[in-house]
């Protein structure tokens, strides 16, 4: 999808997203977890599908078998930040969202 089809919404200053520490943003009542991993930005659903609690921004970020992942703080399943797929159970996944940094702001993309 080319970026012109998206409307970019600024959610915070770039320096509010510290490396490896997730934050949560609200976009049209969707809770979204944002991460900055070595300069790469990721955005996934913040709600952990195993517990329905909005906790994924609060998990530890790392890599498992070369995939960048966040571990749910409740039962420790790992979710790929790039695809949203759960490593322990590939039938489960969370949504991912377009995200970018522009003019010192972190922006989430939503379809127009």
């Amino acid at each position: 999808m080319s970026s012109d089809e998206l409307q970019w919404i600024s959610v915070c200053e770039a320096d509010e997203l510290s490396p490896l520490l997730g934050v949560r943003a609200l976009l049209d009542q969707q809770q979204i977890a944002l991460f900055n991993v070595k300069g790469e930005l990721y955005a996934i659903d913040a709600i952990d599908p195993f517990t329905d609690a909005a906790v994924l921004s609060r998990g530890i970020v790392g890599d498992i078998k070369n995939q960048v992942v966040v571990a749910s703080p409740i039962y420790k399943q790992h979710f790929s930040l790039a695809s949203g797929i759960c490593l322990e159970d590939e039938s489960v996944s969370v949504k991912t969202y377009p995200v970018r940094e522009k003019d010192g702001k972190i922006q989430l993309g939503k379809k127009c």
Partner: protein, 849 residues
């Protein structure tokens, strides 16, 4: 080939097993399956029936579900008894008039409790114990009864006695034979069992023949015995044996045993070729097997024969191991010593109430049977030796005599010596060979073994043995248990600790760069975060450490199931002023928190949202509270009893010492959590012997106990030193804790750590008391550093506006997290459960708090 229609009459434990075997069969699509049950539900676990009285529900006991049957195309009809078999027409007819034809018929009708023909046996409150409905009747009757009598002192009778005891009744057991468990035990074993059970408050009456049950004087009924004596009771529970449920077979003319039971051959076929019988209704070689494992074997054999295989039933081992009223009892093989010419060894320990007897063959080469009462550790070994006809060791008595130096397993046989055909799990009929091949196929944990072979998923009695077999096979395959903490560091926690210290590494990134690879993960990051904290005691939310912390450490609170947090301020030794109690109440009220007294003598406030944490802590800190580190792998609480200050027996000030200890070690990060307690005298009200560090006051000073814990696998602490003064006590604790932090594995509590030290307790004493490694002064100065650099992390945090930003729920909004929903229970909040959430969201009810 057209499909074959198989009708199974009875959906009990064995009937279900047979159906499940057919479902799992590689040619499952060849079978059309129909089962009838007289009971209102599908199969449940009768073996675990008594767990109902310990809180299990009918639901918990289910072995299968209607949806499982539906998914696998099994047709089931509940609440409908099969009353006729038309053998010539291959048809069954049920009580409701339903007719069903079959190609193969399986009778799995089980048995029913035998009630002796005693006049008065049919009155109310005269019950039996076999079905869930019976359990319900027992519970109802117990509500109107004070005394209960169990008729029958066999295995089931004693289990029933336990059930009645759990229901709060005064319990008597009346047995016709001169001893308990006459089928399984010999006289010595029976006598000891009787003594132990009597000590538990259950009265045993042996050699009693009940003549009649009439109206009682002080209780509902009176049981008159043949010898002229009587017993008054409100309830009678018959458990005098079982009888095969064979009327259906009898009616249709199948060959029956003289005393009942449907005669079967080695393929489980009855006298009519296409009718099989399995489980407790079947009579093989003149025997009815009243245990579930032989029934499962029959189910397997019948399925094999139905599908063209040639497995045979060749009898079954009747060995049993049970906990009856809390007493361990085991019986193996020819426990009575009935084999001609056999010899036996008896070991009897009157002090510890242990009785063991082994029966060996005349030529002293084989074990024929055994009886164990009070201590059954040898069961696995003995049962295997007996069933597999293994050679006896030279001194067979060593099999039951405890070794003097406490060296376990002396005289036992290693699992290595077992043949591949040895049955490890009798419930699911799993052999040693099958476990070994599962290991060869990659299984490396007992969880894997359970999943791939089902061993250990029945009664659970074989788990220890199965684990041994697995470990033995793993080491044979040269599989070294991988001790790397994760894919990022090829080191153990202990190695990393040393690297950090020796190279004076201060951050995770530095360590990763020098000794690791990748980015790290949720295993290595918190572990290394904890090591860095133990070594250098930096503030955990410092920029470079923050991303290492579990959410609990990061937000310095414990995450709950709905993403909110709980807050546990330190209440050293459980001592708290009224003023501080009031503040806790006020804060809880202001933020609508659920409050509870914890098992650690503190007060926990639950249900705080991320952004509320600093606000709450600000108020708590202003009132003089500090963080309680309930979130960290760190020092938790020091429990205390009131001690000499108030208590008439106290010999030293336990509260003062507990506060001193808690103050000294608060904030200390460690491989796992650390718990302490101090008691003011040997009555031990603070339960110090169940703690990592336990201190008990005596006339001669403090006694120090180490490496105990409660939790999953409770372990009593060991006495480490006694007659200590305050200073010496603290010095020893400093050294022990620091040595533990240096050398333990990740998530290894002190008990496991010490058990894994070569030399155990004695070695620890050598290091800590006698300074054999010459490290004591270093251990002490390390501890002194930690103690002097303590800071309350919450205090540091609320004073730093920059850090406070991290607690915002959303970076771009002040809204609250709408997934957090509470409802009210007992006048406080609790997280809404799934059902409530759906309802609330749909109807947007205003009852949300």
């Amino acid at each position: 080939m057209s499909s074959e229609k198989i009708v199974v009459v009875g959906n009990g434990m064995v009937g279900h097993k047979l159906i499940d075997n057919l479902i799992q069969h590689e040619e499952a699509d060849q079978f059309e399956l129909i089962t009838f049950s007289e009971e209102p539900r599908l199969a449940y676990d009768r073996v675990q029936l008594s767990s109902y009285f310990a809180g299990a529900s009918a639901e918990d006991l289910m072995m299968t579900s209607e949806s499982y049957y539906q998914e696998n195309g099994v047709n089931y009809i509940l609440n409908d008894k099969v009353i006729e078999v038309k053998v010539a027409e291959n048809k069954v007819i049920t009580a409701s008039g339903r007719e069903e034809s079959y190609d193969k018929l399986v009778l799995a009708t089980g048995s029913f409790p035998f009630v002796p023909p005693i006049p008065g046996k049919d009155q109310d409150h005269c019950l039996v114990y076999r079905t869930i409905e019976d359990l319900e009747a027992m519970t109802a009757s117990a509500k109107e009864s004070k005394i209960g009598v169990v008729v029958g002192g066999g295995l089931l009778g004693l289990e029933a006695a336990n059930a009645l005891k759990n229901l709060g009744l005064e319990v008597h057991v009346v047995e016709f034979a001169p001893r308990l468990m006459a089928v399984q035990l010999d006289e010595g074993g029976g006598e000891l069992l009787r003594k132990k059970i009597t000590d538990l408050g259950v009265s045993i009456h042996t050699s009693k023949n009940t003549k009649e049950i009439v109206a009682g004087e002080s209780s509902r009924y009176r049981m008159n015995f043949a010898d002229g004596e009587y017993l008054e009771t409100d309830m009678v529970l018959f458990s005098a044996g079982i009888r095969p449920q064979d009327e259906l077979a009898r009616q249709c003319g199948l060959q029956m045993g003289e005393r009942g039971g449907i005669v079967i051959n080695n393929y489980c076929q009855t006298s009519v070729d296409n009718i099989y019988a399995v489980g407790e209704c079947a009579l093989w070689d003149g025997k009815i097997y009243g245990l579930v494992a032989p029934g499962y074997t029959m189910a397997k054999v019948a399925v094999s024969h139905i599908s063209g295989g040639d497995q045979e039933f060749k009898g079954a081992d009747m060995s049993t191991k049970l906990k009856l009223l809390g007493v361990d009892v085991a019986s193996i093989g020819d426990a009575q010593g009935r084999t001609p010419g056999c010899l036996s060894f008896v070991y009897q320990d009157g002090v510890n109430e242990v009785y063991k007897r082994i029966i060996i063959s005349e030529d002293k080469t084989r074990l024929l049977g055994a009886v164990l009462v009070g201590e059954v550790e040898a069961y696995g070994t003995l049962q295997q030796m007996c069933v597999n006809e293994m050679d006896l060791p030279e001194n067979p008595e060593a099999l039951i005599i405890p070794s003097i130096d406490g060296d376990e397993g002396a005289g036992g046989v290693g699992v290595d010596a077992l043949p591949d055909s040895a049955h490890i799990c009798t419930c699911h009929d799993v052999t040693k060979g099958q476990i070994c091949s599962a290991v060869q196929d990659g299984a490396s944990t007992i969880g894997d073994i359970k999943a791939s072979t089902r061993a250990g998923t029945g009664c659970g009695g074989c788990v220890a043995l199965a684990t041994q077999v697995m470990n033995c096979e793993l080491s044979k395959l040269g599989v070294e248990v991988n001790t790397d903490i994760c894919e990022h560091f090829a080191h153990t926690r202990q190695e990393i600790y040393h690297i950090v210290r020796v190279e004076k590494i201060k951050t995770f990134d530095e360590l990763l760069e020098k000794h690791g690879k990748g980015m790290g993960c949720d295993i290595c990051k918190p572990t290394i975060g904890s090591i860095l904290a133990s070594c250098w005691n930096d503030y955990v939310l410092k920029e470079e450490h923050a991303a290492l912390q579990d959410t609990n450490d990061y937000f310095m609170a414990n995450m709950q199931k709905n993403g909110t947090y709980s807050i546990v301020p330190r209440i050293a030794a459980g001592e708290i002023t009224p003023e501080k109690l009031i503040v806790l109440g006020q804060v809880a009220k202001e933020y609508k928190l659920y409050t509870k007294i914890t098992g650690g003598q503190r007060i926990d406030l639950f249900g705080a949202q991320q952004h509320e944490l600093p606000l709450i802590w600000k108020e708590l800190i202003d009132a003089g509270f500090e963080t309680g580190h309930a979130y960290g792998k760190s020092v938790r609480t020091v429990k205390s009893c009131v001690g000499s200050t108030w208590c008439r027996y106290g010999v030293l000030d336990s509260v003062g010492m507990a506060i001193h200890i808690e103050d000294r070690y608060k904030g200390l990060r460690s491989p796992h959590k650390l718990k302490f307690a101090v008691s003011g005298c040997t009555r031990e009200c603070a339960e110090a012997q169940s703690k990592d560090i336990g201190v008990i006051a005596t006339e001669n000073g403090w006694s120090l106990y180490v490496c105990g814990n409660g939790g999953m696998k409770p372990r009593h602490a060991d006495l480490f030193a006694s007659g200590l003064d305050d200073q010496m006590l603290i010095t020893l604790i400093d050294r022990i804790l620091m040595f533990y932090i240096r050398t333990a594995d990740r998530l290894q509590r002190t008990s496991v750590w010490m058990d894994n030290l070569d030399g155990g307790l004695e070695y620890l004493k050598d290091v800590v008391i006698r300074d054999s490694l010459k490290v004591c002064s270093e251990l002490e100065s390390d501890m002194a550093h930690i103690v002097s650099t303590y800071q309350c992390e919450w205090k540091t945090t609320v004073e730093d506006p920059d850090k406070l930003k991290r607690f915002r729920t959303f970076v771009n909004s002040n809204e609250k997290d709408n997934t957090v929903v509470f409802v009210e229970e007992r006048k406080q909040i609790r997280p809404a459960n799934k059902d409530e959430l759906v309802r609330f969201v749909e109807s947007a009810e205003p009852e949300l708090v």
